[in-house]
Structure formats: structure tokens, C-alpha cells
Symmetry: C2
Subunit: 516 residues, 2 copies
């Protein structure tokens, strides 16, 4: 059968899939799908698949159409080898997708999580013809074999600097699944606010949130984690520490270093007290019940270590034999990593923990400074996540508005990584820091640039031509819009409004350019 497939670039949706699959083989036939009878069936039904079928039915077929006779009774069948495989780092996400000439569609996957990606790919193949009112797939028979290059494909959002109501976080998770992203890195607490409920210390949010309503209830978090899981997305919470913690200070100044206790100073936890670690362990143990993922992000960036330059901490440092604050930082990082281990978690730290401390070898280091650090991190034997800010112009920091999609697209996490260390690069993240985004402009700033990162992390390393990618990305952006996502235009800086009238694939032209 495979012999009759012709693999070449067709100007159809079959070759416009984003992110680009590993292998696409196309025929030349256009087949019609009957939206009124097209069925979704799992050989072994799971809760996740049934939920996905419900979602994708309306994504495949967004327009109401008149029923038409359908002798073929076509539909989609999903077969999963291990329907119970848990969503976790490194779970098999591969799938194969076949669309046959009779309209039947077959998705085979090792796990539910791979099957979800197959459904997403299929959804991008279905076109609607306004003239005939019919749904169709071009380039049939279609045979696709696909799997991600990296295990960790994430987006960081920062709900500490601006609160993002649950409805917006869920919408963002929906949009991430369209690009096959699988990690929401949820930076939950900051100097500015503390929006997440704690059962053991409810006063943290009561006093640390911006106000009485910009908070997540316990059940809200459960709800978001479930929403994410149904879309194959792990939620990794970040509780940044020992710096970026001033909002904790509003209710618990006693665990803060005395050097920075005023409201207008950036505080740091006090590592001299066992009380501090007992407190943190109690809160993290509580939260571990709603964040089931193996990984816990404990920050460690931009520590205002000057806070430890006070008589009490200096005396304690002497007792401990610490010569400087770097040694204090190292102590803090390792003691927190031990707590994380006790809670059954592995810890992710920002790259300061690698630069200025020596965390345990099972820690994961997230690179945000210069990209060249990646090589050093893996050469030291640590696993690494790539999210270099690239000077805010050539990195994966989405708050760097001067960083364009194509700048992000060509960044390669494996640059200068030796072959034997490649396995240590888990993947990467786009980082949507919250200083200048809130629900007004969050999606607008994230998309379509996150799509560039998503393809870099999913597709083969050889898929790196911005010229080839651009028309596909423009179509993907149109699909995002049709699904309700507020994606910006392709081209220009981050968050560029359309410069003039135009279609969703074009940035637009001014009236003067359109009409003389």
C-alpha cells in the first residue's frame, strides 16, 4: 500500500500542519467528510479520549451544515496500546494517523497522550468549503508518523505580577494543546502578590494577594490541573524562593531575613532559622496534593542576597562556617531540594542555582541567562531546560517584545551540545513574564510567537527554515483565530496590532497601499 503514496509538497492543509510532523505521505484525492454522521470511536475508551472527542468534534466541524446522505458512514477510530500510561515527563507521545480513501481515519498511539496529538493533527487537515458547505480532507490517502523531539515543551505564565483568572488560564491551555505543547510552568508567587490558596496557611493569600478577589481557590487549582491533564499538559508549579518572595512577608515576616523587612524592599527568606524550612515544607506538602507532577520548580533566581548581610545572619554564617552569601545560597538550595525529595518530587531551579551553587545531581536547571550556559549545565551532568532570554531580542522570553517569531524559531536548544549529552536537554519553554501582560493582552503577546517555540521543540532539528515555515505559521494563526485564540499577526514585534486591513494570513496593508 505504501508504495502508491506520493510524498511531495501539496498546497493543501495536509502539508500545513503545525508543528510539522516527522513524516507525512500524501495521495492526491480530496475526500468529503460528513459532519453529521462522522463518528469518533476508541477501541478502548478512556475518560481523556471521550472528552477529547467532544472537543474535537466541534473543532473538526465548526459550521452547522445541512445533513447530506452518507453511504460511507466514515469516522475516526483510535487505538491505544497502553491506555493507562500516566502523563509524565518522557511518556510516549508518538502517534500514527491514516486517512483512507473511504473517509475512515485511524489513529494509533502508544498512549492517550500521543492519541491527543493525533486528533490535533487530524483537526488541522479538515477544510470547510463555503461554496459547497462540505468538509473535506485533501491529499488522501494521508499517512503520518509523528513524535516529539523534546519531552518538555512548555509555557511559563506569571500569575504573581498580574492575576490571570481561571477562565483565561484554561483558554491558554486550550491554545497550547493546538501547538502540542505539554507543560504549563505556573509561576504562582512573586514579590508583588500571592494569589494561590494554602490550606495550612490561608493567611498567605488572604494578606498577600492583591485584593479579595484576585486569588485561586483550592478547587480552582484542582480544576486547572484537570483541564490541563485532559489536554495532555502537565502543570509544574513554581514557588520562587528565596527571593521574589516579598508577598509571603505580608503574613510571615518571621521567616524573612532581617536585612529586608520594609515593605519597599525585596525580601529574602531567612536560611538561618529551621522555622523557615519547616514552614516551607508544610506549605509545599499541602500543595503537593493538588500538583501531582513529579517536578516542583523552586525558583532561585535573582536572590537579593544583601538581605542576609545583617548581624543575626552574619553570626549564623560564622557558626556554619559560610564564607559568603553564595555559600548561604548553596545551603538554601540544597536544603530545599532535600525537602522536595522528601515530598517525592524532583526540583527545577533557575540557572543561578547552577552558577552560584551546587544542587543535587537529580535537579533540573532552567537556563534563562545566555544560551551558551546550556552546554555547561549538561557537561556538569545536570538535565537542562532551555529558555534563554537572549537579551530580550533573540531569546524565548515572550516579554521581550523585540524578539520576533523568526528569531525564536531559529534558536536551537542543542547548539554546542555533544551527542552524548543531548539526552540531558529535556526541552524548553517560552517565558511569558507578567510585568506587562494581564488578561487584556496575554494571548495576544504569547501567540503566534509561542508557535515558533512549539515547532522547534516538536519537529526534527532539520525543520529550521523560516521561509518554509512562514506560510504554515500564517495558516496556523488563522486556525488559532477560528478557535477563539487572540493570536497576534505573524511578523513584526511581539504584540503588534495589524497595521491595516487584511486577511488573517497577512499583517495587513494601510488603506493607502490598498487603494490609490
Amino acid at each position: 500500500m505504501l508504495g502508491i503514496f506520493i510524498s511531495f509538497l501539496l498546497a493543501t492543509s495536509a502539508t500545513a500542519i503545525w508543528p510539522k510532523p516527522r513524516l507525512v505521505q500524501n495521495g492526491t484525492t480530496r475526500i468529503v467528510l460528513n459532519s453529521n454522521t462522522y463518528g469518533f470511536k476508541a477501541l478502548t475508551s478512556t475518560v481523556e479520549l471521550e472528552d477529547a472527542f467532544r472537543r474535537y468534534k466541534s473543532i473538526f466541524f465548526p459550521h452547522a451544515t445541512e445533513p447530506v446522505p452518507d453511504p460511507s458512514n466514515n469516522g475516526l477510530v483510535v487505538d491505544i496500546l497502553d491506555p493507562t500510561a500516566a502523563l509524565a515527563l518522557g511518556v510516549n507521545e508518538s502517534y500514527t494517523l491514516d486517512v483512507h480513501l473511504d473517509g475512515t481515519t485511524f489513529i494509533a498511539a502508544k498512549t492517550v497522550w500521543g492519541a491527543l496529538h493525533g486528533l490535533e493533527t487530524m483537526s488541522q487537515l479538515v477544510d470547510f468549503n463555503f461554496a459547497t458547505g462540505q468538509y473535506s480532507v485533501s491529499g488522501v490517502p494521508v499517512h503520518i508518523e509523528d513524535e516529539p523531539r523534546f519531552q518538555h515543551r512548555g509555557l511559563l505564565i506569571d500569575s504573581g505580577r498580574h492575576f490571570e483568572p481561571v477562565i483565561h488560564v484554561k483558554a491558554l491551555l486550550d491554545s497550547m494543546s493546538y501547538a502540542k505543547m505539554n507543560v504549563l510552568h505556573w509561576h504562582l508567587t512573586e514579590d508583588q502578590s500571592f494569589p494561590i490558596a494554602s490550606r495550612v496557611h490561608p493567611e498567605l493569600a488572604a494578606k498577600g494577594a492583591y485584593n479579595d478577589f484576585e486569588q485561586y481557590t483550592w478547587q480552582d487549582i484542582v480544576d486547572v490541573v484537570k483541564h490541563a491533564r485532559l489536554r495532555g499538559i502537565r502543570v509544574i508549579p513554581e514557588f520562587d524562593m528565596p527571593g521574589h518572595t516579598s508577598a509571603w512577608r505580608k503574613s510571615h515576616p518571621e521567616i524573612f531575613a532581617e536585612g529586608c523587612l520594609t515593605e519597599s524592599s525585596r525580601g529574602a527568606f531567612d536560611p538561618a532559622k529551621n522555622e523557615t524550612f519547616d514552614f516551607l515544607q508544610a506549605t509545599l506538602k499541602d500543595w503537593a496534593e493538588i500538583f501531582p507532577d513529579l517536578f516542583l520548580h523552586l525558583g532561585s533566581d535573582e536572590v537579593p542576597s544583601g538581605c542576609w548581610n545583617n548581624s543575626k545572619d552574619l553570626a549564623w554564617m560564622k557558626t556554619m562556617g559560610f564564607a559568603n552569601t553564595s555559600e548561604v545560597f548553596n545551603y538554601f538550595v540544597n536544603r530545599m531540594a532535600a525537602i522536595s525529595t522528601k515530598l517525592g518530587r524532583q526540583t527545577i531551579f533557575w540557572d543561578e542555582a547552577f552558577l552560584f551553587a551546587k544542587p543535587p545531581q537529580d535537579a533540573v536547571i532552567q537556563n534563562w541567562h545566555d544560551a551558551s550556559l546550556m552546554q555547561k549545565i549538561v557537561d556538569a551532568g545536570y538535565r537542562a531546560i532551555f529558555s534563554s532570554n537572549g537579551g530580550y531580542t533573540h531569546g524565548w522570553y515572550l516579554d521581550g517584545l523585540a524578539a520576533t517569531w523568526d528569531n525564536m524559531y531559529v534558536l536551537e536548544p542543542l547548539t554546542n551540545i555533544s551527542a552524548d549529552k543531548e539526552k540531558l536537554v529535556l526541552g524548553g519553554e517560552g517565558c511569558m513574564w507578567g510585568e506587562g501582560v494581564d488578561p487584556s493582552d496575554l494571548e495576544f503577546t504569547v501567540w503566534p510567537r509561542l508557535a515558533a517555540i512549539a515547532e522547534r521543540l516538536w519537529s526534527d532539528r532539520s525543520v529550521n527554515s523560516t521561509v518554509e515555515a512562514q506560510p504554515r505559521l500564517e495558516i496556523f494563526r488563522c486556525q488559532l483565530l477560528a478557535r477563539g485564540v487572540h493570536s497576534g499577526v505573524v511578523g513584526g514585534n511581539g504584540r503588534s496590532p495589524p497595521p491595516g486591513p487584511g486577511s488573517c494570513t497577512q499583517p495587513g496593508k494601510t488603506e493607502e497601499q490598498l487603494f490609490v
Copy 2:
């Protein structure tokens, strides 16, 4: 009973309602609502109310909570005098709302459309307390009597310059209902594109749309009109003509004046041919089936009347005794108004039809030039809709990004209108022209500024202090965010990103302002 109410400004949600009701009387008690048992009941059930109950249940109670004992079995009862009153210009939209000390809520309205506003007001009274996990209403007993000042409270969107997928139009309708807006003025066709299906002339969209997918199917329009109606919003379609029509020319150059037939020229319909009017009548008759509203907007702005300066049209003008193109324009306007009448519709025209022609007296004139025109329009006996662009800085053009919410708020449609002519001012509209907005930034640009217009059109004329309004508007903006609307911050120009970290009520401060 009324005697015990104390009417004064409480710092509670009961006085933060947007737009401000005509009369609010408050007690001083805070009562708890049990979200698990709170019921919604209509004394006479209607489809619209049942749908609204479903929506508002999740708006009243957005967070999942643990069931608690509820001896009071409180809930909301709606009583409607005329449940069959059709949604139309001038329908009674008044309501009264009473929240009693035992938690029962009573909404009385003349029509379903008034009752919907009562539900919206009640939704703005319900607070969630994160510490206790309880919903409550403060200032009980609450007695509110409310009705709009103007009958026509609209938003214009422009789907001709950028296509807005149905899912975005529906989201916008949802958000409009939160501000008690009741008209979507849907500018559907433009020089740039023709996105709407026509059953009699499908080639109009097939050739005039930007592409194969940025189009509305017939069923899409039906779906949007129904979605709007369920929220008390009339949909008034605009088919702008005789100018702003170049996208029609792609399939039907034969109804265009020969003076402007090239692709790069802005075209104008040819009034010299009966064929033109026959064609337009056929298309409008078709669309009349899916746009049930009494009003049809036929544009008439910015006519490139130079297109009529060609030998054929000049010869025809001679035959007709027309001295200039103004007389041609007048002929076109009146002939189209006659077609509209034949289709059972009344016509709305932009103010050029008043300035340069003499439409029939039952036409409605929409003012977009200087606000001073309003007086002239009503003095000439026409009904008027206010949407002056105010030089794009002090008007109701939302694409005028320099126009701030407070500039919009203080504009009064009845300025210089004599008392006996006030009835002729139907209301006003915020105009979100589409050159620089598409789904990426549409809501971000519309909100919160449209809220300023909404309150001007709903509340008493005396409610005009920006100082009093601002904290209420900030709370309303937070409510919009919590409901999934992408509203910009209060303050600054249109579409200003938050300048730094902060709560939803505050524009934000830079890191440097927050921490020394």
C-alpha cells in the same frame, strides 16, 4: 418596608454596579448565598430566561465550593408582565430587583429583555469571600429600580476590513450584555472584503472574501443573531453603499460605475442602471430572512462620487436632469430607502445622507462627523444615533486610540438638543472600525472604553462625574476579566498594555516604583 432602607454610598458591590442604576436603596446586612442550592425560577418560563439562568448560574458562582447546610433554601424568582414582547427598538427594558434579608431575590420586569438586565445587575452584587469560601451580597435589603435612558445602545464592528470568526463575535456579544448594551451594528461588507454568504448570489463571498475560510455561512449568521437575541441584543446589519463596495465588484463589475473599475480604485455602484437596484433588492431580500430587526443600515458614507464622472453616467444624469453628483447621491439614497421599505425595513444612513441628500423622513441618521450635527439632524425631524468621531480624540470612535474612557464618558448625546426633540435621539454607538483590529486585539481595544459609552447611554444624564465613575469602572473591568473578557486597563489611551505589575483595578507600577 421601604422606610427602613437606608440609601447611602457603601463601599460594597451594591453601589459599584455598571452602568449605574436609576435608583439603588441599600440596607446594611451582609447575607450568604448558598451556591449549591440557590435556584433560578421564572413565574412564566421562557426559552430566553432558561438560557439566561444557565449562563448566570456560573457567573453568580464561578468557584466550586463545598456544599454547606442551607435551611433558608434561598433563590431568585423572575416575574414578567409580558413574556412575549419582541426584542425591538423601544421595547420596555426596565426592571426592579429586590434582595431580601432571607436571601430570596425577586426580579420584576415588563419584558424578558428587562429581566435579563435585572439578572446582570444581580450578578454584579454577588461577592465571593476566599477566606470563608462563601458567596454573599452586602447592603441587604437591596432595592433597585432601573431602566435605560436611551433605546439604542450599540457597538459597531467591522468584519469587512478584518474578518472576525463567529466565536469572537459571540464573545463580544457576551461582553456587551454585561454592560447592558442592546445593539450590535454589524458592518459586514467593505472595499477590502465581502465575508457574508448570500443564497441568491453566492459568488459575492466566493470572490469577494479574503480567502476560502474567512467567511460567514448562512447558518453562522443565524447562529450569531440567535446568540445576540438570547442576550437582549438586536443585530443591525450594515451593507455600506454606494461606496465602500469594492469587494462586490470582484464578482459583479456590471453594477459599478465605469469611472472606477480598476482593482486599485475605490468603486461605487452605478445608479444609472435599474439592474443595480434589482441586484441589490434581491440580495437584501435574501438577507432580510436572517436579520429580523426592523432596521437595515445602508451606509452612504464617503461616496467616491468622482466614479460617476464618466461619459455614460454623465449622459444619464442629463436625462434625469441631475445637475451634480449630490443629486445622484440623493437619488441613490432615496431609491435604496424605497427598497428597504418594500422589504418591511426602516433605513439607517450615515450623516452624509443628511448633509448631501434628503432621505425619507422615517430614515434614521447616524452621526459620525462633528457632534454639533446632532442638533441639525433632529431639528430637521429625523431620528438620530450619536457616534461622533470627535476628531478621533474626543468621540466614540474606538479606533481613535487617543480617545480615553473619560473623554468618551463625558460626551452627551443630548447636548444642545431642545427638549421637544430629545425623543428623536435614539441613542448612540461606539464604533470599532477594523483597520487596526482583528481577533488579536478586538476586545482589548473595545473594553473598557465601551463601558463608558454604555453608562452614558443607560444611566441618568446627571451621572457624569468621572471621579465618581472611575472606581466603579475599575471594579467592572475586574468583573469583565473574571468572565473571560480581554479588557484593557482603565486609564491611558485605548489598547494600553499594563505599564507594570498590579491588580486588575490599577494600571500597574514599574518594578522600580514598587521596590526601591
